[in-house]
């Protein structure tokens, strides 16, 4: 057997990502998304009364109605996510700035929704890379939001060019602290990170509630919220209202790039991956598994913390209770979909962000509840986590070697 020609020495992110994807069967991911969408459509049709009425008339009219219902729903989802092509055309033709902004807003709003997903997805993905299940992203987001918003309103007299990085950094530090505790417990005592991070989540939620009512409450407000952050801490927006798109998106992309460099280009990253892939061999190689575990959880927490401070500094400009609504938990599915690779996470975050945004307007226009998107995400996640389902349905060939979506140390993976 003649050896194949070795690939290019300069392996950039795209090449590594593509290799990992094709090695672990990209077809499965594509089919998982497709099947999820299909089943979502079936579910929508099955819960629409008009469809049942149509079935009473005849089988074919029933199928037709089911089809059109699904198409309409997904159509509303897509226009909600990226905008209505006719509306955009008309707005540009009219030349009215406000109309144009309103027409292209859906697309940019989707990017706004994507940004926290990128941060949180990177957080969970980094955890997976070192063999840990970071379910605590949600709590880390909350703490990051708290520390970020505090830096935003409590430190006066800084120019934006300093205030913004400081505030983002404070967000990261808050999340990092929240990741440090479970990381340390895991490394020193073997305490299962799934349990400790979930507990830390609850602590974060209650802590946030209390801080918003007490020490961090805005004295001028009746309901619990923090004061507005200083204008110097606001993440600059790129357009005027109603578009809320801010530079947080680019910060997120930059951070994703940094995580990529860390994981694949540095010795630290190599150690993290070794620890996640085979702790025994990492120990044999002389790596301090304990410290690497803690460092990874600290970094993961920091990334999630930035998701929180991003929301606070870029969108809300103050902290209100329950601002996150599940970004941290969705990110688990996201990280798996992105194969725990920074580029994959960004792509998956875009998918989830667009879905999330589209779902809101879909609910307004065709009345289908936003939960359909949660179901969609759950289906996609289930198919990704158990590729055998997709392989059986579509009769795909199994790959030669074992495909590990994640190797989790806690379950002797």
């Amino acid at each position: 057997m003649s050896p194949e020609k070795p690939q290019e020495l300069k392996k950039n992110g795209l090449a590594i990502f593509w290799e990992e994807f094709s090695r672990s069967n990209f077809t499965v991911i594509f089919l998982a998304i497709f099947t999820g969408i299909f089943l979502g459509g079936v579910l929508v049709a099955a819960t629409t009364t008009e469809v049942y009425d149509a079935f009473k008339v005849s089988f074919f009219s029933g199928i037709g109605k089911a089809f059109t219902t699904a198409i309409n729903t997904y159509g509303a989802l897509i226009t909600g996510a990226i905008g209505n092509p006719q509306k955009i055309q008309a707005a540009f033709a009219s030349g009215d700035a406000l109309l144009i902004r309103r027409a292209i807003n859906p697309f940019f709003e989707s990017l706004v929704q994507t940004t926290p997903y990128i941060f949180a997805g990177l957080s969970v993905a980094l955890g997976f890379r070192v063999g840990l299940f970071n379910i605590g992203a949600e709590g880390q987001i909350y703490i990051g939001a708290l520390t970020g918003v505090w830096a935003g309103y409590a430190i006066p007299g800084l120019p934006p060019i300093i205030h913004i990085p400081v505030a983002m950094l404070c967000g990261a530090l808050g999340g990092a602290l929240w990741g440090f505790v479970p990381g340390l417990l895991k490394a020193k005592t073997g305490a299962h990170e799934v349990i400790t991070t979930i507990m830390m989540n609850y602590i974060a939620f209650r802590l946030s509630d209390w801080l918003l009512k007490g020490p961090m409450a805005d004295p001028n407000e009746v309901t619990p919220k923090t004061p507005w952050i200083l204008p110097s801490a606001e993440l600059p927006q790129l357009f005027e209202a109603p578009i809320r798109f801010h530079i947080g998106f680019f910060i997120a992309l930059f951070v994703a790039f940094v995580v990529y460099l860390l994981l694949f280009k540095t010795t630290w990253g190599m150690e993290l991956r070794m620890v996640g892939s085979n702790t025994n061999a990492a120990q044999y190689a002389g790596i301090n598994v304990t410290s690497r575990t803690v460092i990874a959880m600290v970094l993961a927490g920091g990334l999630a913390g930035m998701a929180g401070s991003n929301e606070v500094l870029g969108i809300n400009h103050r902290l209100i209770p329950a601002f996150s609504s599940g970004y941290g938990f969705d990110s688990i599915a996201l990280a798996l979909l992105g194969k725990s690779h920074p580029l994959g996470v960004v792509l998956a975050a875009l998918l989830f962000g667009f879905l999330r945004n589209g779902a809101r307007s879909m609910q307004l226009t065709v009345g289908v509840p936003t939960d359909i998107v949660s179901i969609l995400q759950a289906l996609i996640l289930a198919f990704i986590a158990a590729p055998a389902i997709i392989r059986t349905i579509y009769r795909l060939k199994t790959p030669n070697h074992n495909e590990d979506i994640v190797s989790l140390r806690s379950w002797k993976g």
Partner: protein, 510 residues
Amino acid sequence: MAPVLELRGITKRFPGVLANDHINLTVEKGEIHALLGENGAGKTTLMNILYGLYHPDEGEILVNGNITAIKSPIDAIKAGIGMVHQHFMLVPVFTVTENVMLGEEFTKYGGVLDRAKAAQKVQEISDKYNLNIDPNAYIKDMPVGLQQRVEIIKLLFREANILIMDEPTAVLTPQEVVELFKIMQTLIDQGKSIIFITHKLGEVLESAKKITVIRGGKVVGSTDPKTATMNELANMMVGREVSLEVDKEIQKTGEIVLEVRDLKVLDPRGGVAVDEINFEVRAGEVLGIAGVQGNGQTELVRSLTGLLHAIDGTVLLSGQDITHSNPRQITELGTAHIPEDRQKDGLVLGLPISDNLVLNTYYLKPYSKGIWLDQKVIIETGKNLVKSFDIRTPSVFTPASSLSGGNQQKIIVAREFSRPIKLLIASQPTRGLDVGSIEYIHNRLLAKRDEGCAVLLVSTELDEVMQLSDRIAVLYRGKIISILDAKNASKEQLGLLMAGIIGETEKVSR
């Protein structure tokens, strides 16, 4: 009379490799048929096809003269074919009966497990074939040799007539091997047929009635053990002259490199695994530690390499105290460690070969500058090592998991030997490897010894220890009960020592 099993023209292709090339195999009833071949030759693929785990691209399988389609292990079992895998598939916390009936449960009252009935059948099988197994014993309490018998019972429970045994003696002590051959003979006498996959040439000549050698996916020959010699078989397996004996140069020993004093190490359950042992290894010599698996070898090696904490004693490397040093410090002082379990400790299977080749040196120049990895240098080094150590792989980017056992071990050897070392600790270095790889590693090991390196060889393969060592220490229940000159030691003598029986002349003077 039709042969009990016939494989005709079995062909199997995987992307990039023709694993089985029109293989013909005939097994007569009541025959022990040995299947010999290097790792990667195609024997495992062939047996997986026979057992329904793979589908052949061409060819057919005939059972008792009838063409049989085997699409899954269920079909194989129905056809009377059973497989005893090298790595047992037993649940340690279940009893023998529960393990045997798993998947073929006896039930009563429409759903309730009938353990008693199953236990009775297990007892009958055990009596019929002299297996001596208690149906109610727990697997975790049984030694490996008896566990293997449970695997055999599983097959007989399902009325298998053709038993495939994959490397059955790899995990057995010499005494257990003798017992296994007795059992195989009993099975044959009762009309069963056995296909026996192995690398161990000596055993093949002892027990088989017919030998088929596979190389590169093709059958290269079928011989009769009465006329074949070990050298002939080895040559057929590898395709060239293989030396089964190693020529050792006269030993030139230097100063003491490794000194171990009163070392005491506990095992994971808290018992004493290494019981205050003393020994030393000099530059240019091979000290072989012989002993049956489970007498403290694992704990000894792990404590010497920094992976396990010793609770008492001292370990000196060229005079420097490394008793409580970590693996990185010990490596940086010039030690190489070939671990007992290559997949668990020695490699990160998910990473490419190039990364595995710098597993413990990646943080040093020139592989990295500060925290930045220099992939160019790593890949360049990888390519050079793959060439000079003849590692068979499509490229250096292939993940280590895709390689055969022999080539995986070569990665570890290439890595450990490519830095300047004064002490080499090799633990079961040729476990699970084929004749060609074994020859290669033995030669490399002796070359290091001749260069002046101190070599500590820990192995349960007595032949290997006797061939390579200058001095042999026998480890029994955590103590070194004897240290002999290899020239004077005989196999029988060592066998007795390994079982704990010390003669007068062998008592250790210290």
